[in-house]
């Protein structure tokens, strides 16, 4: 009987211990910060959480490259006078059209409203453009006429054709909001050297690896570079259903092809196309002759472009979905570490 009692007591004791064990919660390993959204851990195999924590990654963001291909219509009249043994030649460019539609529509092509862009369209009416070596390749399409007299001979020829022109350059103003979002995400943003287009510049203008080797980006770990795919300005008027009013919409849209390249391995770690739109809407704007502000449209387009870049970088796990949280902490940590007053000397 006492054995039964002891066994019962033992079982009861064991049961209590098991219950107590189950009820005990393990201590929380991580402390959550109140008032901040926890950031998603980076999943990109190249940029792991460990590498981001151990060292502040630096990135250089170039201005947006562009390549403008245009066709210039050239119409040249050449008059050649031969007097005895003396030959004189006069070349007169008669008609020149500089891709008028595109030039007026696009903000980067040197149209009338684009003086703020560092782009200059070559005017072939300039005498230099018709100088030997600079003359366009022309295709004879017209008649050649000649007239003879007793002491002089005059020949005139008319030629017309197209000359393909390439412009290379960098669009400023668009990349700063992107730099801002990368700073918020914890990256150290490095200033990149401007790229100047050379005379007779070719597509080697976009050779980013060559520029990395030339040291144009300092000690940046990554380069974010974008090439402008298209800029378009639209100006549309449409009726507003159910009203007597119209909606006058003026839009500036930019589409940019982006790549992020690892400077050490030349590996592309993110690649996408992003677009930004700046829109100004005026009700009955056509009736009032309203003119939109180019500066406002450009600002809106650049901010919208940065937002699209953020979405693409997040979807490719280059930045977290919550810039300003964990990234901000990393950035702050880096600044504190860089402060001279916090330097520690180890002997």
């Amino acid at each position: 009987m006492p054995l039964m009692k002891n066994t019962l007591l033992a079982f009861a004791g064991v049961s209590l211990l098991v219950l107590a064990g189950c009820a005990t919660k393990p201590p929380a390993k991580e402390q959550t910060i109140i008032g901040q959204v926890p950031a998603d851990p980076p999943k990109n195999p190249v940029i792991s959480a460990e590498t981001l924590k151990s060292a502040s990654q630096s990135i250089a963001v170039t201005d947006i490259y562009f390549k403008k291909e245009g066709k210039n219509l050239v119409f040249i009249e050449e008059t050649r006078n031969k007097t005895n043994n003396n030959i004189t030649s006069t070349i007169t460019p008669r008609t020149i059209e500089v891709d008028a539609d595109k030039a007026n529509a696009s903000a980067v092509t040197g149209g009338p409203n684009s003086s703020q862009f560092p782009v200059k369209f070559t005017n072939l009416a300039d005498p230099k453009s018709t100088a030997p070596g600079a003359a366009p390749i022309v295709t004879p399409v017209d008649t050649q006429a000649s007239s003879n007299s007793s002491d002089s001979e005059t020949q005139s020829s008319k030629k017309s054709g197209y000359e393909a022109k390439m412009e290379y350059g960098e669009l400023r103003y668009l990349a700063n909001p992107i730099r801002g979002l990368l700073i918020k995400s914890g990256y150290k943003v490095v200033q990149a050297k401007a790229t100047v287009a050379m005379p007779n510049q070719g597509d080697e203008y976009f050779d980013i690896v060559k520029r990395i080797k030339a040291g144009d980006f300092g000690d940046a770990d990554y380069i974010l570079y974008g090439v402008l795919a298209e800029v378009s300005n639209t100006d549309n008027v449409s009726d507003i259903p159910g009203t007597k009013s119209t909606s006058h919409q003026m839009t500036l849209e930019v589409t940019v092809d982006f790549n992020i390249i690892d400077t050490k391995t030349s590996q592309i770690v993110a690649s996408f196309v992003a677009s930004g739109e700046g829109k100004d809407v005026q009700i009955d704007g056509r009736d009032t002759g309203y003119k939109p502000s180019s500066a406002k449209l450009m600002k809106l387009a650049s901010l919208d472009l940065a937002e699209d870049v953020r979405k693409n970088l997040a979807s490719q796990n280059f930045i977290t979905n919550n810039p300003g949280s964990a990234g901000y902490e990393r950035n702050l940590k880096r600044r504190v570490d860089d402060d001279a007053s916090t330097l520690k000397v180890y002997k």
Binding site: I240, P241, G242, T243, K244, S245, V281, Q282, I283
Partner: protein
């Protein structure tokens, strides 16, 4: 004696005249009735029909998957309800009544409909283009929210008459259409039969 009778007659006449005058000046009698009381004055479309349709449609719509299964209150707008009857029916009153009841439920938000756009446009124009308002307080152009769904439908009737009987059959049809996909997310109908006999 004759004098006394004459005086009495005169008094009675004066009293009768006063009562008649008072009755003439009092006008028609006015009384308030129950707005929800059943109205059976004739077989034409009436207030009870309006209330029955609105109540039935609201109840059914709130139970639909598109509304009840939505995480956030979906944004809906009112489109046309076509009157295919031979009577004059202000169908806007029906949709407005449905809208009011849906709004009260809190499960649906409504964007301004086409018929309300004139006022909306004028207000936006006044705030954005007059230059009179503080920039931070302006309701900016281009931020109106588009409706996910629109409500549209029709009301039709079949009327039959004999010498002594008038039979009216109404069918009210309402649809909820997804504006983006064009899919019909919900549809219901309410039938009403009214018979008037002499």
């Amino acid at each position: 004696m004759i004098m006394k009778t004459y005086t009495k007659t005169l008094q009675l006449s004066a009293f009768t005249l006063s009562v008649a005058l008072l009755a003439a000046c009092s006008g028609p009698q006015v009384r308030y009735g129950d707005a929800k009381a059943v109205e059976t004055v004739n077989a034409n479309y009436g207030s009870t029909d309006l209330q029955m349709i609105a109540e039935a449609m609201t109840r059914s719509l709130l139970q639909s998957k598109a509304i009840s299964g939505s995480k956030d209150a979906p944004i809906v707008t009112l489109a046309d309800v076509k009157n295919k009857t031979s009577e004059y029916i202000d169908t806007r009153v029906i949709t407005d009544k449905i809208r009011t009841q849906l709004m009260k439920s809190g499960q649906v938000r409504f964007a301004v409909s086409v018929s309300e756009m004139q006022n909306q446009t004028e207000e936006l124009k006044r705030q954005n283009q007059s230059g009179l308002y503080k920039n931070s307080t302006i309701a900016k152009t281009g931020n109106m929210q588009g409706a996910q769904y629109r409500i549209e439908g029709s009301i039709a009737s079949i009327v039959k008459n004999t010498k002594d009987v008038k039979d009216v059959y109404y069918v009210f049809n309402l649809n909820l259409i997804n504006n983006e996909s064009g899919l019909l997310e919900w549809a219901d109908e309410k039938e009403i039969r009214k018979t008037a006999t002499r």
